[in-house]
């Protein structure tokens, strides 16, 4: 009798996995049916979004290491919380731990599709919550090679998608190569090329083309791990800027899914009590 609950919970855990596995095949079949490159591109973007849906909420710690041309390092540490929102962009909260002079600074973002995000910054020295004009997201995040728009919630509607080709993308993986043109105003890019792994719908590489359409940056994803048997997250992301020779590495740690965060944890007043 004692083993029954364990057995039951094992079964219950396996059920959604089976359902998701079936889902992935159906998603792939739906994509390959498409012949028009635009329709196929959109189908891939939607499939990747659908495959990742249901994460609920996530907490993770991030370290950002900035390298200049001479290899000089500069580090930032932050804790992040993300809430999946049905029918709109996700909500996120980031709290800085380093550099020490900005410790306690926190940022709340309610992302939307094509509409500008709502964003508030909390400045701990003044205890001030400041609404940010988030329209221009092409600027660098904390002096890094990541722009705000690279780190925001990647909603399907933010881009016009077009499938270009299929291509091997390392470690025996096959990828769809997608061209994405930003549909929101004030982007720093004319387009991005994204390599999406066919098996698990994970981004493996992104190339960013500047406003003059020349290659600006390349982002690569590494050390993917699967959480709760379904959701894949990278352990490391590396952004190389080809024009200025600088690069930024993001190290992700302590991913936790379904931690019980609620909508009320993403209200602006909550910024004041985070540490």
């Amino acid at each position: 009798m004692k083993r029954l609950p364990a057995l039951l919970s094992g079964l219950l855990l396996a059920l959604p996995l089976l359902a998701l596995a079936v889902d992935a095949d159906a998603l792939r079949a739906g994509i390959e049916k498409q012949t028009d490159p635009d329709a196929k591109g959109l189908a891939i973007a939607r499939a990747a979004d659908a495959y990742d849906a249901g994460f609920g909420d996530i907490r993770a710690d991030m370290e950002m290491i900035l390298y200049d041309r001479k290899g000089r390092e500069s580090r930032r540490q932050l804790r992040t919380r993300i809430l999946e929102v049905q029918g709109d962009g996700d909500k996120s909260m980031s709290i800085f731990d380093a550099p020490r002079d900005v410790k306690g600074t926190a940022m709340l973002t309610w992302s939307h599709g094509v509409k500008p995000d709502d964003q508030w910054l909390y400045l701990p020295a003044l205890k001030r919550v400041k609404r940010i004009n988030s329209r221009n997201k092409s600027g660098p995040f904390m002096g890094s090679e990541f722009a705000y728009e690279d780190l925001g919630s990647q909603e399907v509607e933010k881009y016009h998608h077009r499938w270009l080709r299929d291509e091997p993308c390392g470690e025996g993986l096959q990828c769809w190569v997608l061209e994405q043109r930003p549909q929101y105003k004030y982007s720093g890019y004319t387009r991005r090329l994204v390599w999406i792994d066919k098996q698990h719908f994970r981004p493996m590489k992104v190339e960013f083309y500047d406003r003059k359409n020349s290659l600006l940056k390349t982002l690569t994803y590494h050390d993917y791990r699967r959480y709760e048997g379904h959701w894949w997250r990278p352990g490391r992301m590396e952004m190389v800027n080809h024009q200025n020779g600088k690069r930024t590495v993001l190290i992700w740690k302590n991913y936790r899914f379904h931690t019980g965060l609620r909508d009320s944890d993403f209200r602006k007043n909550r910024l004041k009590s985070l540490k």
Partner: protein
């Protein structure tokens, strides 16, 4: 008593090992030099001064932050030996949250407002008047607060049982009026004096790209009237007289495309009559100027006070124009320059602030302020020879 114990307390907090289970220690130690090109105008004032300040923070949370404790003592020792040598408990409070309700009891700090040149609506904490001319440094305020957050917005209420007197530069300090302010001679309109219980309430909501706040304050006015009087030694001094105040506040910020519009307005009754004051303007940012990666923000605000030249503020009919240059580099380098121009009197103040990080934990700040065409009727007339350059190096841990 307390001021004398503060350096000890600050040391004690700093001595708690950072590794002590669950307790988090952070903060800063900073050195500062204030340099004045002109000799002082008033007898007893020093020419230049240097100081050292420590502001550690001890924090612990339980239950994923639903309960927390914060202690932030502050102490500055200044070479002039005046009032700038001072200490304060910036924070000493317990915070608790249950569902959509939260409360805080102890000494805390609250900021209300949206504009950059003036903080009209901000009323809960008293200004620490010896730290900086910008009035952004505040004294810790004893409080009991209760806040509720709803889908439509937030409501916050503060019960403030003990009044904090504003601090003023002393006889040897620069940046003071012709006569020093003597806090020992402070008087109050209310018979309860410092023990008058004040109340503050703010309701705020977000409507798309409009953030709106309405506030009410009933209690002892933070900015006193200054009365010419004699102290015990028969010297002429200024004595603060704290009136009772009732005031309504409005703060609004509206984002329209690239423009951010801001407004703060108050209507206050003190000394038997009502007056109004407002500050409003906009912020517009030029991104990636000429492909440099730098962002240049421009600010324009107008300050108004219906009391005109009788107002207890410098900003009664003043335009503020500012530029903020962010280099977006790894060291977060930034330059902020602002010019205040008094439309009634023609007097002007120019302020420039620049900062950059050095390595991982050091921050260098430079601040300069200058006064020009000062009119004897301007409240800052006494500061006309106090153009200064401030260098500060802070170590953050």
């Amino acid at each position: 008593m307390l001021p004398r114990l503060l350096p000890l307390l600050a040391l004690l907090v700093a001595a708690v090992p950072a590794a002590a289970d669950g307790w988090r220690l952070s903060g800063s130690i900073s050195g500062q030099a204030n340099l004045y090109p002109s000799p002082p105008r008033y007898p007893g004032q020093v020419r230049n001064d240097a100081s050292l300040a420590v502001e550690p923070e001890l924090y612990r949370e339980w239950n994923d932050g639903a309960l927390s404790f914060t202690l932030v003592p502050f102490y500055r020792r200044d070479s002039a030996g005046g009032e700038r040598t001072h200490g304060d408990i910036r924070e000493l409070n317990v915070y608790a949250r249950k569902g959509d309700w939260e409360g805080r009891v102890g000494i805390g700090k609250v900021f209300w407002g949206v504009t950059e040149s003036n903080h009209l609506v901000d009323v809960v904490n008293q200004i620490d008047g010896v730290e900086d001319l910008d009035g952004e440094d505040k004294l810790g305020q004893p409080m009991l607060s209760l806040a509720a957050s709803f889908d439509w917005g937030d409501v916050e209420y503060y019960l403030l049982p003990l009044f904090r007197e504003r601090s003023w530069p002393g006889v040897p300090d620069r940046q003071r009026f012709a006569l020093p302010v003597d806090n020992d001679l402070a008087r109050y309109e209310s018979d309860a004096g410092r023990h008058h219980v004040d109340h503050a309430l703010r309701v705020s909501a977000t409507f798309g790209e409009l953030d709106l706040g309405l506030s009410v304050f009933v209690g002892t006015a933070r900015m006193p009237r200054l009365v010419l009087t004699m102290n015990g030694s028969g010297e002429a001094v200024l004595a603060p007289f704290y009136e009772q105040s009732r005031r309504l506040g409005l703060d609004a910020q509206w984002i329209v495309e690239d423009w951010t519009w801001k407004l703060e307005a108050i209507r206050e009754r003190r000394g038997g009559s009502w007056y109004s004051a407002a500050v409003g303007g906009f912020e517009y940012t030029f991104y990636d100027v000429a492909g440099s990666g730098w962002d240049l923000g421009s600010l324009l605000e107008y300050n108004y006070d219906s009391r005109g030249l009788n107002a207890l503020t410098l900003l009664q009919d003043d335009v503020f124009a500012g530029l903020r240059l962010a280099f977006n580099d790894a060291d977060s380098s930034e330059i902020l320059a602002g010019l205040f121009h008094d439309l009634t009197l023609g007097s002007e103040m120019l302020r420039v602030e620049a900062s950059t990080r050095i390595g991982e934990d050091l921050k260098l700040s430079i601040e300069a302020q200058g006064f020009a065409r000062m009119d004897p009727r301007d409240l800052a007339y006494g500061l006309r020879d106090d153009d200064y350059l401030r260098l500060e190096l802070g170590w953050y841990f």
